[in-house]
């Protein structure tokens, strides 16, 4: 396993990258108003976690993490499919994907 990854690169770099990607995702979710972008940002956050899992898996020499990544990718794909379908439907109905318009659930 160890020869697959150059372990001389400190793992911190991976951690930093993944944190950075995650933060971008969070900020995107919080700031943007377009539902499609928010969906993308969520995907970004998921992938940052995937990256983290892969890196830990590699450094620990254990494949469990990578198996999980496949799971997450499958689930994410399904989720995107459903999410996009919803958005398409919303767009058809409301003519907009701005989340500020979607306030029907106000209690």
């Amino acid at each position: 396993m160890s020869e697959l990854v150059n372990t001389s690169t400190p793992q911190n770099w991976y951690l930093l990258l993944s944190t950075l990607l995650f933060s971008i995702g969070v900020m995107g979710v919080l700031i943007r108003r377009n539902a499609i972008i928010i969906l993308m940002c969520i995907e970004l956050m998921l992938n940052s976690v995937n990256l983290l899992l892969v890196s830990f898996s590699a450094y620990a020499g254990n494949t469990d993490g990578q198996v999980f990544v496949f799971f997450i990718m499958v689930v994410a794909a399904a989720e995107v499919a459903v999410g996009l379908a919803l958005l398409v439907s919303i767009y058809r109905n409301l003519g907009s994907t701005d989340i500020d318009v979607l306030s029907k659930l106000k209690g």
Binding site: V29, L30, R33, I99, D100, S103, L105, K106
Partner: protein
């Protein structure tokens, strides 16, 4: 008495004694319509059958042996088992004869008396049911079976007092009787629990033999006997539970004669005599019994003076006489009390039936102020009534003289009691003759229409009167005082029942013969004085009691029965009703439902409040989510 039949062979006949009236009840209840007018005759004949069987038992058992057997197990748990069984001993035999004998006569009488009533058949079915329960009461071999009869006769009393059920006042009287009896019954029930718990059973044999192990005055026995006495107070109408009996006169007159004079109300006395060992071992209770008896006797007698309803007078006289019997029991003179039960059953039943005959003749009128001079219209009734009145007043040689004299003699060593009882019997003689003179002497005071209606009753009514008057004359000779040098048959017959008590209580205070003769003369003199006073008042001066509205002062208190009913109403009945509403409206609807509704409101409130968080702004949700995640992370980090 020579014995020619084994007791074991008497079981079947003894079972039929109560079963015959029960059969009568079912026949009349379910086939009353089909039987038509034969129904009442069947009912009467079945009771006659019971009477004949009782005589058969009496002849064959005598007082040397008794019959005690279980039919089946009624209840059982763990080690305890309570059986349904019967005991026929001298005491039960006496009661059996009285109940079925007088019961039959009253059935016969009722055929004439109730003939025109639309509930004719129903009346007889209830009477038969009553006889059944009363027989159960005196035949049971345990307190439990006695209790069945005890409550059963209460039920029949309820049904019969409220016999004319469209009249709400009568229904109230019936309800009152049942409820007051139930108060006593609770005492009885608790007494049974004590016996079951500490004396290991409820059948007389076990209880009485185990009780004999205790020393005299043991607290347990005092408690048990006091509780039993509470039961007796209810059933036998003693202070303070007596108010139902005068009201119970709402029932048809034969009912008053049978249930509320001759049999049911003496159940308390029977019960105490039955458990005489327990009571003898509890001197304190005997003391209580005695004083309650004396007080009731005097109290009821005083009220009796001012009553104008012919049946009410008799009712108070019953209460008073029952008090006398309890006083006798309290003095330890069990057989004397029992003797008075028997003689009283005859002359009081006679009085009531006579009163019934008078009411029958008057077409339903019960107020003595509207009677008078009936002697010449209804001779048979009047003569038999006179015999009974003499008997209850204690004039020699009528039955009441002997039994009363015995009680007074027993009380002689206790001077205060003796004086009070003498006063009470003097008052009794007075108001009974007041009743007699007002009803039968001077001239008729009713309306012309009533006068026209006056007639002697049919033979079914007069025959029982005649038979009972024979007993009212003769029954006293069953127990001749020692001074007459004749055997006291009654005491001798009951001796086996009370012999243990005799040894516990020690030798009774015997008065010597001279004193006894003196006492008899004194009692007779007092009674005669009362009669003379009554004669002067109501015959010579022709006084008629004033209308209710003109009664004043002390007399009004007496006429209003010292306002005891009103007192009970104000102290128990009204507060109970108020309490009921308070519980329902305040506690149930306000306090408890407050908690229930408060918890529901809490849920609603939480929902309403938390709803505000749902702004509908997706960005806000996301922000909250991220913020919360960061907080969680921070917490994780700090730890």
């Amino acid at each position: 008495m020579e014995q020619f039949i084994q007791p074991i062979n008497l079981i079947a006949p003894s079972l039929w004694v109560p079963l015959l009236p029960l059969l009568g009840f079912f026949l009349l209840t379910f086939f009353g319509k089909q039987l038509k007018s034969a129904g009442p005759w069947i009912a009467s004949l079945l009771v006659l059958g019971s009477f004949l069987l009782s005589v058969y038992l009496f002849v064959n058992l005598g007082n040397k042996q008794s019959l005690d057997y279980d039919v089946f197990t009624w209840m059982h748990w763990g080690e305890v088992s309570l059986n349904f069984g019967f005991l026929i001993d001298p005491l039960s035999l006496i009661m059996l004869l009285v109940i079925t004998g007088i019961g039959f006569l009253i059935h016969l009488y009722s055929i004439g008396y109730m003939h025109h009533d639309e509930g004719f058949v129903r009346f007889f079915s209830y009477l038969n049911l009553f006889i059944f329960f009363m027989l159960l009461l005196v035949m049971g071999n345990s307190y439990l079976i006695m209790f069945i009869g005890w409550e059963g006769v209460g039920l029949c009393s309820y049904l019969l007092i409220g016999f004319w059920y469209t009249n709400d006042a009568y229904n109230d009287a019936a309800k009152k009787a049942f409820i007051m009896n139930r108060i006593g019954d609770l005492g009885f029930l608790l007494g049974m629990f004590f016996m079951l718990f500490y004396l290991g059973g409820l059948d007389f044999a076990t209880v009485l033999s185990n009780a004999a192990e205790f020393e005299k005055g043991a607290p347990l026995l005092v408690v048990i006997t006091l509780l039993l006495f509470v039961g007796a107070m209810g059933k036998s109408a003693q202070l303070p539970l007596y108010t139902w009996l005068p009201d119970a006169m709402a029932g048809p007159t034969p009912v008053s004669a049978l249930i509320h004079a001759a049999t049911m109300v003496t159940a308390g006395i029977y019960m105490i005599v039955r458990s005489n060992i327990l009571f003898s071992l509890a001197p304190f209770t005997l003391e209580v019994v005695m004083w309650v008896g004396v007080a009731t006797s005097l109290f009821a007698a005083i009220i009796g003076i001012k009553q104008n309803d012919i049946k009410k007078v008799l009712a108070y006289s019953t209460v008073s006489q029952l008090g006398l019997m309890f006083a006798a029991l309290g003095l330890g003179a069990y057989t004397s009390g029992m003797f008075h039960v028997v003689t009283h059953a005859f002359f009081k039943a006679l009085l009531f039936l006579g009163a019934g005959s008078v009411i029958h003749a008057m077409g339903g009128e019960q107020d003595m102020r509207r009677m008078g001079g009936l002697w010449k219209y209804i001779k048979v009734t009047a003569i038999t009534f006179l015999i009974a009145t003499l008997a209850i007043s204690g004039i020699f040689p009528f039955a009441g003289f002997f039994s009363k004299d015995e009680i007074l003699a027993a009380a002689f060593h206790h001077k205060i009691v003796w004086v009070l009882l003498s006063v009470s019997s003097m008052i009794t003689a007075f108001y009974m003759f007041r009743l007699f003179f007002l009803t039968f002497f001077t001239s008729f005071r009713g309306t012309e229409e009533e006068k026209h209606h006056l007639h002697e009753s049919p033979w079914t009514m007069t025959l029982p009167l005649a038979i009972l008057s024979l007993f009212a004359i003769g029954a006293g000779f069953l127990g001749m005082p020692a001074v007459m040098h004749m055997p006291h048959w009654f005491n001798g017959f009951l001796a086996p029942v009370v012999e243990t008590s005799k040894s516990i209580l020690g030798e009774a205070h015997h008065v010597d013969h001279n004193t006894e003769i003196m006492l008899m003369l004194l009692a007779t003199a007092l009674a005669v004085t009362s009669i003379v006073i009554a004669y002067v008042f109501y015959v010579s001066r022709k006084t008629v009691p004033e209308p209710d509205t003109e009664t004043k002062g002390l007399a009004k208190w007496v006429a209003k029965k010292f306002y005891i009913d009103e007192l009970y109403n104000a102290v128990f009945v009204k507060p109970m009703m108020v309490l009921s509403d308070v519980f329902h409206v305040v506690i149930d609807k306000l306090v408890i439902d407050l908690f229930v509704n408060a918890s529901a409101w809490m849920v609603g409130f939480t929902g309403r409040t938390l709803r505000l968080v749902q702004t509908g702004n997706t960005g806000f949700y996301l922000f909250i989510m991220v913020f919360a995640m960061m907080v969680l992370l921070l917490i994780q980090l700090v730890q």
